[in-house]
């Protein structure tokens, strides 16, 4: 089973989290990306995600391999929704378990950043004014590629750093 998965139904975070459990893990960090009601000054009413799944899964697997090599973590997993999503829905979930919380935080951050910049997934925003647009394609078509620091994350980081008992 690949460690970057696309799902058309709501992401079951409880089940996903159980895959990360490990007797040697002292902590677990997850990140949830939520559908936000605005972007770059426009009121957003809903989103659609589309992926080139064959390549996205391969690139996702490479990112998770890199995370496992760079950080001493136990397990990592990323789930991404495709299809139509409403405001407030969970669009992407990343979970990491590790012996210590520090590397779990770092690996989680690494995975979400790389997924957003490298994996062939596209997001179409529908706006309250009736317009719609592909993020980074339509309005930014003439502009340079978006920078590496992410200033339009429609998400809320949720760090469940469980206290390590050692």
């Amino acid at each position: 089973m690949t460690r970057l998965r696309f799902v058309a139904a709501p992401i079951d975070t409880d089940t996903a989290r159980r895959e990360l459990q490990d007797a040697g893990a002292g902590g677990y960090v997850s990140f949830e990306g939520w559908v936000r009601d605005h972007n770059e000054g426009l009121a957003v009413t809903r989103l659609e995600y589309e992926a080139f799944v064959d390549l996205a899964v391969k690139e996702g697997e490479r990112i998770l391999d890199e995370a496992m090599r760079r950080f001493p973590i136990k397990h990592a997993l990323c789930m991404h929704r495709i299809g139509a999503l409403a405001i407030g829905e969970l669009a992407v979930w990343v979970g990491v378990s590790a012996a210590h919380r520090g590397e779990a935080f770092e690996a989680c951050r690494y995975i979400i950043d790389e997924v957003k910049h490298r994996v062939p997934i596209w997001k179409k925003e529908h706006y309250a004014n009736g317009d719609s647009g592909w993020v980074n394609c339509d309005r930014c078509a003439a502009a340079p590629r978006h920078s590496d620091h992410d200033d339009h994350e429609h998400a809320c980081a949720k760090g469940h750093a469980q206290t390590s008992h050692k």
């Binding site: 080139f52 390549l55 992407v92 997924v115 596209w122 179409k124 980074n136 394609c137």
Partner: protein, 283 residues
């Protein structure tokens, strides 16, 4: 590139007298198809409307009459007459003009010309691979050229190449050195036939293309199978960008071949599956 303000129509010049060939050049066949049919089909893949430019006395010719015709409406002789007649017939259109006797002309050459078009100039044309001078008979002629061509011809001149040398024209380096070689004599025809029918002829490949996101919407389809002479993803994108009017430039995309990221200059093989990847936005 200036934003194009006029649509581009296609014009196939087929009104020549074929005096050196001693037979009607439009009827010469390559690979079982007449030159005129080949040129018309090629052109139709790049522009919404294509016409065949003929002299008034050729209008009843059965080879030509099957196609939308554009009859000469100005006096004089030579290709300048066909170009001026087209500009006069549709003053709100620019014209991608090609001679019918260019057997090596390819989709990639027309696609590159279309994507490099500068509508603020009188014309966009290739430089000759032989002498570096403009090639008027595989060029986009803008409406602004109509009046200037009239003055040029009224001054007793008729060579469209000379016109392009003297005027504001965007000139492109040749994409393929022999693409614009024309065929005037029986000997040249025999050589071209040999070359096109030999195994070393420019390969045409069947390529599958899948479209996602903005490109899918602009292409109006999620995939297509294409018969193309483009040898690399870079030239393939130039070809389909022109055909589908994609707004994204190649520098904004990545490309995948057979499910894996690829170099733009990779040599394509028959049956390859190509995906052009617009800027991504996961999460």
């Amino acid at each position: 590139m200036t934003k194009a303000s006029f649509p581009v129509f296609g014009l196939i010049l087929a009104g020549g007298t074929s005096s050196r060939m001693r037979r009607d050049k439009a009827t010469l066949e390559y690979l079982g198809k007449s030159q005129l049919d080949r040129a018309f089909e090629l052109m139709s893949r790049h522009v919404p409307k294509t016409f065949v430019s003929v002299r008034a006395d050729q209008a009843a010719d059965s080879r030509r009459a099957q196609r939308p015709l554009l009859l000469d409406s100005v006096g004089g002789g030579g290709p300048i007459v066909g170009i001026r007649s087209a500009l006069a017939a549709y003053p709100e259109a620019a014209w991608l003009v090609i001679a019918c006797d260019l057997p090596f002309l390819s989709d990639a050459v027309l696609a590159h010309l279309m994507s490099a078009r500068d509508a603020a100039q009188m014309a966009t044309a290739y430089r000759s691979a032989r002498d570096g001078l403009p090639e008027p008979l595989c060029a986009i002629w803008e409406p602004a050229a109509a009046a200037a061509l009239q003055v040029f011809q009224a001054g007793g001149r008729s060579c469209p190449r000379q016109f392009l040398i003297e005027t504001r024209a965007k000139l492109l380096e040749p994409l393929d050195p022999r693409a614009l070689d024309n065929i005037n004599t029986p000997e040249e025809y025999v050589e071209a036939l040999k070359s096109l029918e030999s195994p070393s002829a420019p390969r045409r490949l069947q390529i599958k293309i899948q479209y996602y996101a903005l490109l899918r919407e602009q292409a109006g389809r999620s995939e297509e199978s294409l018969d193309t002479a483009a040898p690399t993803p870079a030239l393939l994108y130039a070809e389909i960008k022109a055909r589908h009017g994609f707004s994204l430039g190649r520098e904004q995309l990545k490309v995948a071949v057979n499910g894996e990221f690829s170099d733009w200059e990779r040599t394509l093989a028959a049956g390859d599956s190509v995906v052009f990847i617009p800027p991504v936005a996961g999460g």
